[in-house]
């Protein structure tokens, strides 16, 4: 059974077609990079996978069953700006907030919940800062809080929206290694990114998206310049192509 299967998915937003005929699958042990220009529909695809947006046609299967919100198989790391960083909350409680849905109404976090939070903080190397207010963290530390919040559910599938944006090299490397080792532990990881170097370097497979899936394959198999010019709408002389050829 596939961790994730998207079949002939169509999504409209505001009456305009955004995604058409998306076919995509994700297996355990894979770390897949979703690449595409601004407005390509990357975030929309992640939201459709999470059943957060209405779809026009097609279906999304998560471990064989139709997707719906609140399934703890999937961990979601939204873009950093979705989070209210000036909220008076400590790192560990922000991470615990990821378990709110799982806990259910009227239940308070117990030993198991705190252990899950502790493990998640360990994985992103934030244990030392667990009591610090989230407003006093750097961008990279914030990104790690969001990853830890998703990991606190111990999900088998992880969806990340631009986890590398605005991060320095050491933090990118730390997160990249984390995603790689999660994939190594039989997780299925799907992340959007604008960072081609990091994507080519860390991902086991790349999906090029621009309204529809333009290419899907191992980084080494995506050397054809036309795929990239088609996806990103850049000219033959774009530095992007040099980057692709170099890798």
């Amino acid at each position: 059974m596939r961790a994730l299967e998207v079949d002939q998915l169509d999504v409209d937003l505001g009456g305009r077609p955004v995604l058409r005929d998306i076919r995509l699958h994700l297996d355990r042990g894979e770390l897949v990079g979703l690449l595409g220009p601004n407005g390509a529909g990357k975030t929309t695809l992640l939201r459709a996978i999470l059943a957060l947006t209405r779809t026009r046609a097609g279906r999304v299967l998560v471990e064989g069953k139709p997707s719906r919100p609140g399934r703890s198989e999937i961990g979601y790391v939204p873009q950093r700006h979705e989070f209210t960083w000036d909220f008076p909350i400590s790192v560990e409680h922000a991470v615990m907030s990821g378990r709110t849905g799982r806990l259910g109404l009227l239940r308070r976090p117990g030993v198991t919940d705190w252990r899950a939070v502790g493990d998640a903080l360990d994985r992103v190397h934030l244990t030392e800062l667990r009591r610090r207010p989230v407003g006093e963290l750097s961008g990279g530390q914030r990104q790690r809080v969001l990853v830890a919040r998703a990991l606190a559910l111990a999900p088998r599938i992880l969806l990340l929206d631009e986890p590398f944006t605005g991060l320095d090299m050491p933090t990118q490397e730390l997160l990249g290694q984390l995603f790689t080792s999660l994939a190594g532990e039989e997780h299925a990881v799907l992340m959007t990114t604008h960072d081609l170097v990091a994507a080519v370097d860390t991902c086991t497979r790349l999906v090029l998206l621009n309204g529809r899936v333009i290419a899907d394959g191992h980084p080494a198999d995506l050397q054809d310049a036309e795929l990239w010019t088609k996806t990103f709408g850049v000219s033959e002389t774009s530095p992007l192509l040099k980057l692709v050829r170099a890798t």
Binding site: S97, R131, S138, G140
Partner: protein
Amino acid sequence: MSITDFLTDLLNPDLAFLPKALAIAVMSSIVCGVVGCYVVLRGMAFIGDAVAHAVFPGIAVAFVLQGSLILGGAVAGVATALLIAIFAQNRRVKEDSIIGVFLVGAFALGIVIISQAPGYAGSLQQFLFGSITGIPDRDLYLVGGAGLVILGLVLALHKEFVAVCLDREMSRSMGLAVFWLDIVLYVLVTLAVVISLQTIGNILVLALLITPAAAARLLTDRLGVMMLLAPVIGGASATVGLYLSWSYDTPVGGTIVLVATAVFLAAWLVAPRHGVLTKRWRRPSGQEPVDVTRPARLSDLAHPQDPSPAVR
């Protein structure tokens, strides 16, 4: 007037309205302080304002029909809160415009209704600026009961409210009913406003919701502490405000709000970590917290011991 005189007056059976007013003022400011924390943290002060105005037609109808002002206000306020929540789902008109439309419309309706009642000028002033006389016993129980229900709901749904406040997108993906949680929160804000109208008055009630919570936010980075401090600041402001108002014969609502505002200003100046003066005093002594925008890993090594205690 000395504090002893105030206490004597409180116990004087001829002045039975005074302890009643005090009880209502303190209870409602405690409730407003707690609920106000969400309002401040979510930046929904405008919604509080809208609801405060929207309860006016309900109060006017209740006044004309000689019914309970609190019930009348609650019905109108909750109806408006629901309308705002539903209309706000349509993203073509922004939430603040919708609130603006309802806010003024409802207030206009209230003024038209109350102008139909004979001798409305005096009551109008009472609605707008609050009063400590003429509170029926029934209202005392109504405020107490409503206050307990509100605090109970806050306690029950706190975890969910925090999650939605932090990150709506993530909350949806966790399967939380974000829309319904919004509605419950709007209704709680409405009820907190309604039970405070009696003493504070319609115009100033927003201050009871916002000012103590905002002052508490300045004093702490821990949500739990903030939600304890805000009602304490609110309750203390109500008590001190009522005392001052009784001593100097000033309008009670205005005096309470001025006391709360003074607390806010004091917090702004001398809050332990973020106060304007505190920072200035601290800088030369070299105790300024290390810049938090430095690279990630170095800081972790440099600060294995984090001084701030747990939130909540």
